[in-house]
């Protein structure tokens, strides 16, 4: 495996609060360990106050940690200074929630801005790069407009084009879609995914919305009170959240699932998680027919993770050969978690039939 493009080792950062010299220190990040694989779309999610902003300012090298090490693209950020630091910052393209475009400059000039900061003087070279970038984000017709003449989604596309100008291997998006409506969010996320696929760009998405992570991220780290609460593949974290903070974020994205015990459901209540092709298999009706297991749907969620379909259903089983049914579900690659066991254990084949066989 190639080494991660960004790694944080035991990173701690705190800010002084209250009057200088007197107030106590407020720990924003506490011993954070994080590895972001090259070429991933990596989500970092957390509620407000979880330490996201601090993490952004550390990753994009605007601030230094109190302790710990941050490596970006093979360089230890703690050892670079001066011009080298400025160069390393250019290896991370930044996309901001509020776009942060220069209002006094046209779209083309905004995209050219990082090139000028990097010392590119050749006007034809800049013009060529700018028109290439505007083409990529679909804004070729808007080159000579000013930012105030654009919609939010268009402004963010300018922001993305600008971030890519110096061909950084990393794109760091700080709540890049939080100021956009759902439709525009989808189109901007689509663009990010395209850039990831076609340019091999590593995209780091900082967000408070699980829905954004669900739509495009490969992996996700959940930040809670300055610590990494859990990290893993989006499918695992989204469908089987372990940390309470993650559960809250998932619930916000999908709404409350029905709570089985309040429905007075009897019998054997399980949570079934279908992912990918399994989502489309009519396995529950097979179980009903062949194992004689009746099922009641108590609640659940259906949707996609990236483009992969999933279903997570809370089901109450009654009657029939439930052991066989469960085995069959597991064999089909469906994850089964028991929420409530029926009194007296999980029923097997009815005794009468069993007697017949004997």
């Amino acid at each position: 495996m190639t080494p991660p493009i960004i790694s944080l080792r035991h990173v701690t950062k705190s800010y002084a609060t209250g009057a200088p010299g007197r107030g106590s220190a407020n720990v924003a990040l506490d011993a954070v360990e994080l590895d972001i694989p090259r070429g991933d779309i990596f989500g970092i999610i957390g509620a407000s106050g979880a330490g996201k902003s601090t993490l952004v300012r550390l990753i994009n090298l605007l601030e230094r940690p109190d302790s710990g090490a941050i490596r970006v693209n093979g360089r230890d950020s703690g050892t670079v200074t001066g011009g080298e630091l400025l160069k390393l910052r250019r290896e991370i393209g930044m996309v901001f929630q509020h776009f942060n475009l220069l209002s006094a400059r046209t779209v083309a000039e905004n995209v050219a801005f990082p090139l000028r900061l990097a010392g590119v003087r050749d006007k034809t070279q800049i013009a060529a790069r700018v028109s290439e970038l505007l083409g990529r984000v679909g804004l070729s017709d808007h080159a000579s407009k000013y930012p105030r003449q654009l919609s939010g989604g268009q402004k963010q596309r300018v922001g993305i084009a600008r971030a890519l100008a110096c061909r950084p291997p990393i794109l760091l998006c700080d709540e890049a879609t939080s100021a956009l409506d759902p439709e525009t969010t989808r189109s901007v996320l689509g663009l990010l995914r395209e850039l990831n696929r076609e340019l091999g760009l590593t995209v780091v998405l900082i967000t408070h919305e699980m829905d954004v992570v669900r739509q495009i991220c490969h992996r996700v780290a959940v930040l809670d009170h300055g610590r990494i609460a859990e990290t893993g593949a989006v499918e695992d974290v989204f469908l089987h959240p372990r940390h309470p903070a993650t559960r809250v974020l998932v619930r916000e994205a999908f709404g409350e699932t029905l709570v089985h015990d309040r429905l007075g459901a009897s019998g054997h209540v399980v949570r079934l998680t279908f992912l990918g092709a399994a989502t489309y298999s009519p396995i529950l009706s097979h179980l009903a027919r062949e194992q004689g297991v009746e099922f009641t749907l108590l609640g659940g969620k259906l949707g996609t993770i990236r483009d992969e379909p999933f279903a997570q259903l809370n089901v109450a089983f009654t009657g029939g050969d439930q052991r066989a049914a469960l085995a069959r579900l597991k064999a089909a690659g469906i994850s089964v978690e028991t929420l409530t066991e029926p009194a007296g254990g999980i029923p097997q084949q009815p005794l009468r039939e069993f007697a017949d066989v004997v």
Binding site: L62, R89, F96, A104, L117
Partner: protein
């Protein structure tokens, strides 16, 4: 009261003197005030070159300059003016005190205009690997240009006011005429004409300034 007695040629020369004082003083005010304002902004709390001591010192000096009434400043600065321009009279003799009187004021206006610039723009420029100099010249000043131009306009109008006052100590210009003829010789018609001229000048400055601000506003 009769307007026949008015010496229009004299008024014409006085008007030119006023414009010369205004132009010269405004030029030097911007020349000194703009960098001071930028420095004030950059050394301020939470800014790129945060330097508490420098900011406090600069702020203190600027406040002192602004708290001295202009008419006192004119008199106090006479030796300095003579040293710089060789005279403390006429157009050349009032430009130094005018510049001293408005530079501090203008520097504050520049600081305020820069503070109005979206912080995110500075963050973005830093994240793109911009140096402080690049950020000032390529991001901060262009973004703050409308605000700075509005500051120049206000400063120009304050200067018109001050040139009239400097007439009192032999500075010349329209204000000088107003005091010597209109007030001391009871030629009310001169007073009326000069005041009218000043009113027109201020109106023109404000309208011109507004148009410039409008032209450069992209927000």
């Amino acid at each position: 009261m009769s307007f026949d007695r008015i010496d229009w040629v004299q008024i014409g020369y006085a008007a030119l003197d006023t414009l010369a004082m205004l132009g010269g003083a405004l030029f030097f005010t911007v020349l000194f005030g703009l960098p001071l304002g930028v420095l004030l902004f950059l050394t301020g709390r939470g800014q790129l070159l945060q330097q508490g001591a420098v900011y406090a010192g600069l702020s203190f000096v600027l406040n002192i300059l602004r708290s001295v009434p202009f008419i006192i400043l004119l008199i106090v600065l006479m030796p300095v003016t003579t040293l710089i321009t060789g005279t403390s009279l006429g157009v050349r003799g009032v430009i130094p005190p005018l510049v001293v009187g408005t530079t501090a004021f203008f520097a504050r206006l520049v600081e305020t205009a820069l503070r109005e610039v979206d912080r995110g723009v500075i963050d973005a420029s830093r994240a793109m690997g911009g140096t402080t100099g690049q950020i000032v010249f390529h991001a901060l000043l262009p973004e703050a240009l409308p605000g700075i131009l509005a500051g120049v306009t206000v400063t120009a109008i304050v200067l018109v006011d001050y040139t009239a006052m400097s007439g009192a100590i032999g500075g010349g210009g329209i204000g000088d005429l107003a005091i010597r003829y209109g007030y001391q010789r009871f030629q009310t018609e001169v007073m009326i004409v000069t005041v009218l001229l000043l009113v027109i000048l201020v109106q023109l400055l404000q309208a011109g300034g507004n148009r410039l601000v409008q032209h450069f506003s992209r927000k």
